[in-house]
């Protein structure tokens, strides 16, 4: 029968894997390359808009100053009146990213974003430890490390939700920005939102693979390569964060 003949055709006649990786892992790399282009476009676009504006006006405020007490929650208005925040130049990140949960009103520049970065770095190391345990076929360890990774991802998403809420409360949206030019707030929400959505998808993928690990799917299959593939995606999310952190919070 003709359908039988199609079924017995060799799928690949090259003899062996050209890159010595499975097709799934190779496709994950290709996907990540395309995703890297997407993020590069967003970040380079941000860079272009950033450098088309004059340099930020600086304002020295010592670490831990109680802004709530000093300015009665009129800190942003005070800087606007002083011309530190104005539509004609980019804001200085330490004056924008200075909030920390449960420490309302204190000037703590870049402290919260450092915490977010550490959470993501830590969930990256637990992910790679899960991959390593998978290479040694240790089901329980893979499950435990994947569980930590999922917790890290959820913690990061929680931090981002808090940060977004904080900014929206202060009046930042896609078309308004209390700290200066509108593109600053718009690009902040677009790029951290796109990254945050990647974190969310990563948590979902990790949760699916985690369930399979618990069910023993990969014990039966004889290898834990799925953990490695979802791990590649997770590390990529961390990799992108390195550049989001550099461009939005440092430059």
């Amino acid at each position: 029968m003709s359908s039988n003949a199609v079924n017995t055709l060799p799928t690949w006649a090259g003899g062996r894997s050209p890159f010595r990786v499975s097709y799934g892992k190779f496709m994950m790399w290709i996907f990540l390359l395309s995703d890297a282009f997407t993020f590069s476009s967003l970040l380079v676009g941000y860079g272009a808009v950033r450098f088309s504006f004059p340099e930020p006006v600086l304002e020295e405020i010592s670490f831990g100053t109680n802004l709530h007490e000093k300015y009665h929650d009129g800190f942003v208005e005070m800087l606007q009146a002083k011309g530190v925040f104005s539509e004609s130049h980019w804001p200085s990140p330490d004056l924008v990213f200075n909030h920390f949960p449960f420490l309302h009103g204190l000037h703590l520049p870049l402290l919260f974003v450092s915490l977010m970065t550490f959470i993501l770095i830590f969930s990256s190391v637990t992910m790679v430890l899960a991959v390593e345990a998978g290479q040694r076929m240790q089901q329980k360890k893979v499950a435990l490390y994947m569980f930590y990774t999922i917790l890290g991802g959820l913690a990061f998403l929680g931090c981002q939700a808090w940060e977004w809420t904080q900014f929206i409360t202060e009046g930042a949206t896609l078309n308004s920005n209390p700290w200066g030019p509108v593109p600053f707030a718009a690009l902040f929400f677009i790029v951290t939102g796109f990254h945050g959505f990647h974190v969310f998808s990563g948590v979902v993928l990790n949760a699916v693979i985690f369930t399979n690990v618990l069910k023993g799917t990969y014990e039966k299959r004889g290898h834990y390569e799925m953990v490695e593939k979802t791990g590649l995606y997770w590390h990529f999310v961390d990799l992108v964060w390195v550049f989001v952190f550099t461009f939005f919070y440092l430059i």
Partner: protein, 118 residues
């Protein structure tokens, strides 16, 4: 063809691309923890430099270079790129040249926008 017969997923001779995977072997956890601490301390260094260096191009370039160092460790150690074949490394890394072009082009464009507006 009997589809129920046992297929050797590591078989090099009768290679079946739908199931074939190379034999996995661990490279230990030492390099992983070293990378973790490196990422941790470089992030702290970033924060220290933010407050110690004068704002400007020099500081920005320092941050981008430190970012590339972090990215390199993530790709080569965490994503196991250093254990892959040279062909795979080049396939993934060489196309990033297009990003360098985009950066050069858009920075030139940005300085033009700057001259228009201010």
């Amino acid at each position: 063809m009997d589809h129920n017969k046992h297929i050797d997923i590591h078989d090099e001779e009768n290679y079946d691309p739908t199931v074939w995977v190379p034999k996995a072997h661990s490279h230990g956890t030492k390099a992983l923890w070293k990378t973790f601490w490196l990422l941790f301390f470089v992030t702290i260094l970033d924060i220290i430099l933010y407050f110690q260096m004068t704002p400007g191009m020099g500081r920005n370039i320092t941050f981008i270079l430190l970012g590339l160092v972090k990215a390199g460790f993530i790709v080569f150690i965490f994503m196991h790129m250093s254990y892959e074949q040279k062909t795979l490394k080049l396939t993934i890394i060489l196309p990033m040249i297009f990003v360098l072009y985009l950066i050069a082009y858009l920075l030139k464009e940005a300085s033009f926008w700057n001259s228009l507006n201010w």
